[in-house]
């Protein structure tokens, strides 16, 4: 079976890869690009562990065919930090103990970034609804929600300061 050639930008790098027509973008990221940050928790778009940004939109990469990524700009958890400088969300997740096993964490960080990119000053309820597509079985969400709110505060201070 011939494979499909895909050109796209992932975390700032122009890349090319070959994939099967029916392959998910999640599998392509992991198998072809060896970007293992996005996880498969369900493969059906229910858990959000594979969340990525595609042209700025939050997506479950398990629900996207890899060839659909041709020409797109993709951000995965590996692309959130600015070099060695962690994103405030990453820093607040660490300081706020917002992770236990950590397997859902990449998806939560990407989804929370998507929220703060469009709404820098969310309420607790807005954070809870924005993250309702991401499942965490360890934390009960409390420390995740607090950490996202803390990151929003920190980013506002950085803008103001």
């Amino acid at each position: 079976m011939s494979r499909t050639h895909v050109s796209c930008n992932i975390n700032g790098d122009d890349v090319e890869f070959l994939c099967d027509a029916g392959e998910s973008l999640l599998d392509a990221l992991r198998d072809e690009m060896r970007l293992m940050g996005a996880k498969e928790g369900c493969g059906t778009g229910d858990c959000g562990a594979c969340s990525i940004l595609m042209d700025g939109r939050l997506q479950c990469s398990c629900l996207i065919f890899a060839p659909e990524a041709d020409g797109a700009a993709i951000v995965t958890v590996e692309g959130i930090a600015d070099g060695d400088h962690l994103h405030p969300l990453q820093q607040c997740f660490l300081e706020g103990a917002a992770l236990q096993c950590g397997v859902c964490t990449p998806g939560f960080l990407v989804a929370a970034k998507a929220l703060l990119d469009r709404n820098p000053d969310p309420t607790e309820t807005e954070v809870r609804y924005a993250l309702a597509g991401n499942l965490c079985r360890c934390t009960g969400y409390d420390k995740i929600i607090r950490s996202v709110l803390a990151a929003a505060d920190r980013m506002k201070e950085e803008v103001a300061g």
Binding site: G37, K39, P106, D142
Partner: protein, 748 residues
């Protein structure tokens, strides 16, 4: 918030440093089992039974074996058939069916091929001829004479007379004390009810995964996600008929377990496929497979009757518990019996439990296994007593609260426990002291879990620059590495981030039991402390050698050696390790122990709910949990365990259930239809850490992982009753059930 009874103040223990493994987890670098890729790696796929119960007449793999990319095909016949008395026999028959399939999803054959798709296509091309048999899914039906039998060799144990006919009831467990007739005769109030729960799944977000690489030398290396890699080794060895020395297991990061990863599903299959193919084999379950073939925790039927005097003293308890084990027997009913009235002093009781096999997946441990269902029954009825007597439900529990020296219902005398302190913490909390908002209902409940000790090992090595590496055999499922580092920092007197905590593989660290029973920080922490104390003795000896003085003249405190006579400048740990080469070589210590004296855990919780009387939807408006941690080594992760346990309990109470159709096929094997709580369902979970230190641990640790899941079931049922007058005795309390209960005027 933390309420401390009395304990020393510590420099590191009780602080909240950033966890050592955190950075990798927020940048996507932490490596879980499914993230490993080896050169030449193949992919494995399992063919599973479509039937709940069937005899395997024939398996024809010839078509599959000839398909593109296929390198190996295996069935149950490729593994040794363990003798009937082997304790791992049922495990091996769960991993690969022999003779019969016992539930929908039971593994029948497996394939290794070059790509995932090739492996799946080949597995589907295996032709299995089944003779479908009648099945049984319901506990009470399965207990009846004449019910379809899963096994022809189960003769119920624990009965007064030995049965002559096999049945689906594996055993009867009984606990009895006092005179139950007299106990009920002296009661002014008697309440009773039957409580029903469904199987639910642990629901870890990471599906089971492993990679096995079997070499021509007959040895294999397994990378996997598990709660205990030494058990992966022994169970894999048992299924393959191998000596354990041929197997090395390297723990990957684990993406949640909650008890569900204390046993194995994939590893021997991957090893055997790898051996046959001569290549590494990766196996990763789909979510559908996780639901159909792993976990869950048992469904149950529990009947409890309680009697109490007019002033609220419980005089008698009678309990009948039946737990379904899935396709092979477990220990679930026995554990339920041991927990069912344990938060109460009861002089007269009769508790009997029955372990029942049904045609569903084989149950695995789930966070305080069996205790939540038992508490659902008892703590709902205790709430009824409080209402009948017009007593405050906390006061009623305080009146019947056991403390050190009282005899626990399951036998031993209670050691120092913190149930009373947890009850008082909730009673005195701002939440309990404020009235619920208009229209909201309030419920309280308490819960018990044993906690366990078991075997642990630790190696602590001091590096030449004065840092330390702490190697343990306990997979870290919720922040335990940070706790190990904190205890080592406290002992050695060096900064917590000068310590690198590591989970070692089966060949670099001594035997360590599974991370289960809330034991890692307790038992493995003890081993870490013991090794550190050995090292402190060595450090004093090295300082004595550097000073050319008697070791008795050297004291170790605050991370440095001081000379009792004051004749030498103190030596920091790094000063000594820098000179180690000249004073006797590297400094390291190992401790292996069998930890005794785990501290029993109690939690008391209060919740306020609102109930939509048009839809029956329950909204948790406020939730506060108090739990005795003994000592909270890293309070963030103690709170995390408390909050996580509560929310799993909320999911169990309100939403989660296995749904099977009439043929025994699971109808909701995905997160869309098996709905675990999401962020928008919940409020913040307020925590009160109670610290009644466990005298059997150097820092007073009790273990905090499990008990938090116990009270939510009855707490929510009691709150729903308070809001609606509907007394619901069946889980989940999902909108249709709540609505029906409200509309039927099911008041109590």
């Amino acid at each position: 918030m933390t309420i401390t009874e009395q304990r020393p103040s510590y420099r590191y223990v009780g602080t909240r440093p950033v966890r050592h493994d955190g950075l990798d987890k927020v940048v996507g670098k932490a490596r879980y089992a499914a993230d490993l890729v080896l050169p030449g790696m193949l992919y494995g796929h399992i063919l599973r039974s479509p039937h709940a119960h069937a005899r395997i007449v024939d398996i024809d793999t010839s078509v599959a074996e000839a398909m593109p990319g296929v390198r190996a095909v295996i069935t149950g016949a490729d593994f040794p058939d363990l003798p009937a008395d082997d304790p791992e026999r049922n495990m091996t028959r769960n991993l690969m069916a022999r003779d019969k399939v016992l539930y929908e999803g039971h593994a029948v054959a497996a394939v290794a091929a070059a790509t995932r798709r090739q492996a799946r296509d080949a597995a589907e091309a295996i032709e299995v001829t089944y003779e479908v048999l009648p099945h049984t899914l319901d506990i009470l039906e399965a207990m009846e004479p004449g019910a379809p039998l899963l096994h022809d060799d189960i003769l119920t144990t624990g009965l007064d007379s030995e049965p002559s006919e096999p049945s689906n009831v594996a055993n009867r467990t009984c606990y009895e004390r006092g005179d139950i007739e007299q106990g009920f005769a002296s009661a002014d109030v008697v309440v009773e009810g039957e409580f029903l729960t469904k199987p639910i799944h642990q629901g870890y977000i990471e599906p089971h995964a492993c990679v096995a690489d079997t070499g021509q030398d007959g040895k294999t290396v397994i990378w996997c996600s598990s709660q205990g890699h030494f058990r992966v080794r022994s169970q894999t060895a048992a299924m393959l008929g191998w000596d354990t020395s041929r197997i090395k297991v390297i723990p990957a990061e684990i993406g949640g377990g909650f008890g569900g990863k204390t046993t194995i599903y994939l590893e021997p299959l991957a090893v055997e496929l790898s051996a046959r193919a001569g290549r590494p084999v990766k196996m990763v379950m789909s979510r559908d497979e996780v639901f159909r073939a792993t976990g869950p925790t048992p469904g149950s039927v529990i009947r409890v009757k309680l009697g109490a005097t007019g002033d609220g003293r419980i005089t008698a308890a009678k309990a009948w518990l039946a737990y379904e084990s899935g396709a092979f027997p477990g220990v679930w009913a026995m554990l339920g019996c041991m927990c069912v009235v344990s938060p109460y002093n009861v002089e007269n009781f009769l508790i009997e439990g029955f372990e029942v096999v049904v045609n569903k997946p084989v149950n695995a441990a789930y966070r305080a296994p069996s205790a939540p269902m038992a508490a659902f029954a008892t703590d709902t009825l205790v709430d009824e007593i409080a209402r009948r007597l017009d007593m405050d439900p906390i006061d009623l529990r305080l009146l019947n609260c056991p403390s050190a020296g009282d005899q626990a219902p399951y036998g031993p005398k209670w050691p120092l426990i913190g149930l009373r302190e947890c009850l008082e913490a909730i009673r005195d909390s701002e939440h309990y002291r404020s009235a619920p908002a208009a229209g909201h209902g309030r419920g309280v409940a308490s819960g018990f879990w044993f906690n366990i000790g078991e075997a642990s090992s630790a190696t602590v090595n001091l590096n030449e620059n004065g840092t330390a590496t702490v190697v343990t055999g306990s997979p870290d499922i919720g922040g335990s590495r940070a706790s190990m580092a904190l205890m080592a920092a406290e002992e050695l007197g060096i900064d917590v981030h000068a310590i690198q905590p590591v989970v070692g593989d089966t060949e670099v660290v001594g035997f360590t039991d599974v991370t289960e029973g809330s034991r890692a920080t307790f038992a493995t922490g003890m081993a870490v402390v013991e090794a550190c104390r050995d090292l402190k003795g060595q450090l004093r000896g090295r300082a004595a050698r550097m000073w050319d003085c008697d070791v008795e003249d050297v004291e170790w405190a605050d991370g440095r050696a001081t000379h009792s006579g004051g004749e030498h400048e103190p030596l920091a740990l790094a000063d000594i390790t820098a000179e180690a080469g000249r004073t006797g070589g590297p400094l390291g210590a190992t401790a292996s122990l069998n930890a005794r004296g785990a501290g029993p855990a109690f939690s008391v919780q209060v919740t306020d709910v609102s109930v939509d009387d048009e839809t029956g939807r329950v909204t948790v408006e406020r939730y506060t949990t108090a739990q005795d941690a003994g000592t909270a080594i890293h309070p963030d992760y103690v709170e995390g365990q408390m909050q996580g346990g509560v929310v799993q309990g909320i999911g169990w109470a309100l939403n989660e259930e296995y749904i099977h159709d009439a043929d025994g096929v699971m109808e909701n094997p995905g997160f869309l239809d098996y709905r675990i709580p999401v962020a928008s369902d919940l409020p913040m979970i307020e925590t009160i850490i109670v610290e009644v230190p466990n005298p059997n641990h150097p820092y007073g640790v009790r273990g905090v992982g499990e008990v938090g899941i116990v009270p939510p079931l009855p707490a929510l049922a009691n709150a729903i009753h308070d809001a609606t007058d509907a007394r619901i005795r069946e889980l989940p309390m999902s909108p249709p059930r709540v609505l029906a209960a409200i509309n039927s005027g099911n008041g109590a």
